[in-house]
Symmetry: C3
Subunit: 205 residues, 3 copies
């Protein structure tokens, strides 16, 4: 089985799901076509763009791999035309989004390790890849990013990165480690939504 | 005729116009001198800065071509001291802003092509160069960027980029193509303001 | 005396103080653990990250010097658990923040000069290093950045940079110049708080 092709294909699925999250938020805020496409691209690609700019891995992957931009723009158009249908598809979209979360965390962390970073900054960069696009998306509609306020989202990405780093340290085969890491983030995210888990709050607030 | 010098001169005109838009918004939000200068610099230069960071065309042009920073700071000071006069000059400022829009789209797209990017990401980067500064400017005063909500603005930049890419594909002489591309964006922007055109909205909203 | 080690040690103190400012703002906005850590990291490191991305000094220092990230995360945890105690320590935190302001302005300006930039863009980049993290911090909670609205903050950073550039131009020994520059920014910031000085506002507002 070609694991690299599988991961890349899944990455596009995650890109599409993230793009949908941007497009539907834009529709809710009554933005126009430009706003819908911009929020789709921001949600899908800004996390990886920030990662690449900080790493010096330029031109950023979002600019050299044409499929990423096309997928994000496609998600924007889908959100623009079918936003009412999408509102009835919240559960499947949530599942795809959780998949994207795990994939972006793992590929972002891997890319940082490939550039010679230590495990801790690589973990942080993996999380930033996974949640940065959503944060930019929310800032563009003048909202406090959801990832900072509620639910288990960044922590799921962190767990995915931890599984990746630990597995590679132990010398396990990379394809299996990558899949396990994506699965860990995905499962934690889904379970936390089902159970209504939240990240801890400061004591006494 | 020296077309490069002409385009560079026009670029400074656009930089000044964009800087004025940042300064006047800052005055409206009752920011202090620092805020006025910061919004002028952000509006005039942040689009190109983001473009260069994503391309890896570093240090960013805004840091190496001293005229850009001086022009943006000059626009900030002009807005700080003469904001009341500028309120009476809305039409000329709008014309200069439309010129800057076309110029930034075309030079941003060209710079992306020069770095070996494909036409689609180059177009997107041209649009980002043209509208990114205004978006950062609006985010800094906690507003949803105007470019995402109303009027024909990013679409005019996109049309300018399309003319550039198509003209170069056809092998036409670059100076003429660049001028035609700037003119296309400029005219579409001006006509859309005169006619009150807006970008389309999602169906059913 | 080893001046480099002294400046680096002080830099971590500044990083910690900036991180505390992010953490306490996050607690005030009722963010969760992720939000507190994210705002601590943003406040402490985003200014330097933006500087490095624009310079092309990548991977950014915040990713390669592990102490910076650990210090910022430590400040986040301290703010998360001890936010009530920190509210009673406003004056010491203000002093540390002013120290960080001067240090970040001077090290940011120096890094830009080392990359061959002219004095003016180096000054601007020093100021951006010093105030950029706080601006990102404020944008993430949907507030207009404080640095654009009130008090002498960016101007103190600018004065620190000016002392550095002037001292190096005059050929004075760099360690002494750097210390004097940090001190100038620090003193101006502290005095401006004690006296209630503000940056000037646009005439007629």
């Amino acid at each position: 089985m070609d694991m690299t092709a599988l991961l890349q294909g899944l990455d596009l699925v995650g890109t599409f799901a993230f793009g949908l999250s941007g497009a539907t938020l834009a529709v809710r805020h009554r933005l126009d076509l430009v706003g819908v496409l911009a929020l789709a691209v921001a949600a899908a690609l800004a996390g990886g763009m920030i990662r690449d700019a900080l790493l010096g891995a330029t031109p950023a992957a979002a600019l050299t791999d044409g499929r990423l931009l096309l997928t994000a723009l496609g998600a924007g158009l889908a959100g623009f035309f079918f936003h009412r249908a999408l509102n009835r598809l919240r559960k499947p979209v949530l599942v795809l989004d959780a998949l994207g979360l795990g994939l972006f965390a793992v590929t972002g962390c891997r890319r940082a390790l490939d550039h010679g970073l230590d495990p801790l900054p690589s973990l942080i960069l993996g999380v930033l890849t996974a949640v940065g696009g959503g944060a930019v998306r929310d800032v563009l509609v003048a909202e406090v990013p959801r990832v900072l306020r509620e639910e288990i989202y960044a922590l799921a990405a962190l767990v995915g990165g931890l599984v990746l780093v630990a597995g590679l340290r132990l010398g396990l085969p990379e394809p299996a480690v990558a899949l396990a890491a994506v699965a860990a983030a995905f499962v934690l995210r889904i379970v936390s939504v089902l159970r209504g888990w939240s990240a801890p709050r400061p004591p006494g607030t």
